[in-house]
Symmetry: D2
Subunit: 190 residues, 4 copies
């Protein structure tokens, strides 16, 4: 199997932006599948990479982002998906997980060929990230029950675009296989 | 008005790829509006920038691409939109006009702030290019009658995504204004 | 005056790599000038941007990098240049401050046109960063008393390359002017 | 052996810029070694990739660049190194062969791991390109008799920087081995 990483997109979130209310209902629904994917990737030794907006604060590091999100009005949506000590963390400036970030370099160092994308928002950052992964020749997998949307119809169109035009595999999170666990400590080292 | 360039996407084409037949009907419909936009941009002194796939031939330059396209089975779709001596030409490797191309650098040198996107395919390269323009803070304008699609429903979803999530202006090509013409020879110099 | 940022390169450091002993002597000599530049940039309201290796740890954030460096054998070289609450912080993966980092995007948002580079190593990261700033059309200033080297002769060659081939201004740190202070709180917001 | 490409830097040249006279003498001396490297790379089936400034003309393609250079006052320096029908050609906007060009993508598609750099100018584009190759984890080889300089002392410092800080192999062009020839037509296809 190609070496796989799980990418968790924009889940460290205060949900204070426009459209947050619509989004929150969808996130709540996807949350169990996302948490289960994180647990299974960790158990298999596959890298779990959080890629997250920095809320416009270039002073902030991810510990502060996490504290801010946990102190917000939707702690219940953040707590189940918090990074652990092995998690990798990349800050992004704009929508795509690749734009002006070190992610492509990091994936190259980790020899990753396949990305499982989960998180939010299906018809925005997830779509854009799937595209940027595809043009860089990564294999993309999108579990439809582990991504959250604002507009259901645009999300469905986005999933069709990913499948048809970006060669993405569209599946249920339960059907995703990660790598067989290797010796402890060997899998996530950069 | 912000300084504007017209970007003509993937119109130098042999139409030999998969889905070409579906696409050709849509291109034929959009062709007059594209040709009219090119003529008006030229008349105003606004840069016209062709950004085109190289058909996988890194040996080819754009003169050869044009000859190949004109010798193909759809010369009638290429001839009305051929570059002239003032046209700028950027070769792209993959879907987006910005990915691994010098376009961002060229636009910076030309002090362009606003991009009018025309050409093909609405729900693929046009969508991806609108996104990559938006994350780089360009203002994007998409004339719906001057872009061609393969799947009408995905194209409509793509246009809604551009308008809603990429702050793109969606309009008819007739409604687009270019810059006032300046002194001859001053407008398109890099 | 063009809007200016002070860039502090690789000063959050454990000095445990090869060549560290040779480097430390040079850092010790440059340290007062670097600290003075940081103080003057802060006083003027100019952004102070730390760009630093992450020691290969994509798990680490800059708070941890700082703790690790302060706990190392050269706390005395780190303490005088620690970031404050207003400092911006960018993690780099490789030598240049621009390679696979959000720095170019951040500088664009801050409308910075002129970079004062200080830190280490003159003939490596400082040289490479000056080059990458020059190709992006930033004006580069290098205060020779606020950069540290490993090899004195290569450092001198690097400074000549910056001055001659990268249009960099080579000067003493005392001669550098920052922007006039603006209203409190307006200068460093992204 | 790692798969190798020969990169020919800025040899399609009119030699009309500042410093050209000093440069021309050095180019004349390096020319036989460059021509011999091109011949040997072609014979082995290794890709030969010309990466060249576009003289600021985004309207020009490489056929025009070549005609302009051949019509200039130093046809004798261009003719021995003209591209053939198999040569790949990448236009660069600024100093480094990688900055805002599709070169990294093209090398990835060709599965190249090792770059032999020849051409001009040792202490400028060759140095910058060696650096940008090194940060992208390519193995770099610089044949000292096949690169041309403006300033002999800066060129020597540049070669030491490449060898010491960029892990480049510094050698004579005669000592460079290319790949064993494969079946005709299979080696240079993208």
């Amino acid at each position: 199997m190609p070496r796989t990483a799980l990418v968790v997109i924009d889940m460290i979130n205060t949900y204070e932006h426009e459209d947050a209310d619509t989004l929150v209902a969808s996130v709540r629904k996807a949350l169990p599948a996302i948490a289960a994917l994180i647990a299974r990737a960790r158990a298999s030794g596959s890298p779990v990479i959080y890629v997250n907006d920095n809320f416009g604060q270039w002073r902030s590091h991810h510990g502060e982002l996490l504290q801010t999100a946990l102190a917000g009005r939707h702690r219940d949506l953040v707590e189940p998906v918090t990074p652990d000590a092995e998690s990798l963390f990349v800050i992004k400036a704009r929508h795509s997980i690749f734009f002006e970030t070190p992610l492509a370099y990091l994936l190259g160092q980790l020899e990753i060929e396949r990305l499982v994308l989960c998180g939010q928002v299906t018809e925005q950052c997830v779509l854009y990230s799937a595209l940027d992964a595809h043009v860089r020749h990564f294999k993309v997998v999108v579990p439809t029950d582990a991504v959250a949307h604002i507009h259901a119809d645009l999300a469905e169109a986005a999933l069709r675009m990913m499948q048809r035009n970006m060669a993405a595999e569209r599946c249920r999170s339960d059907d995703i296989r990660f790598d067989t666990p290797g010796p402890a400590g060997t899998d996530t080292a950069p």
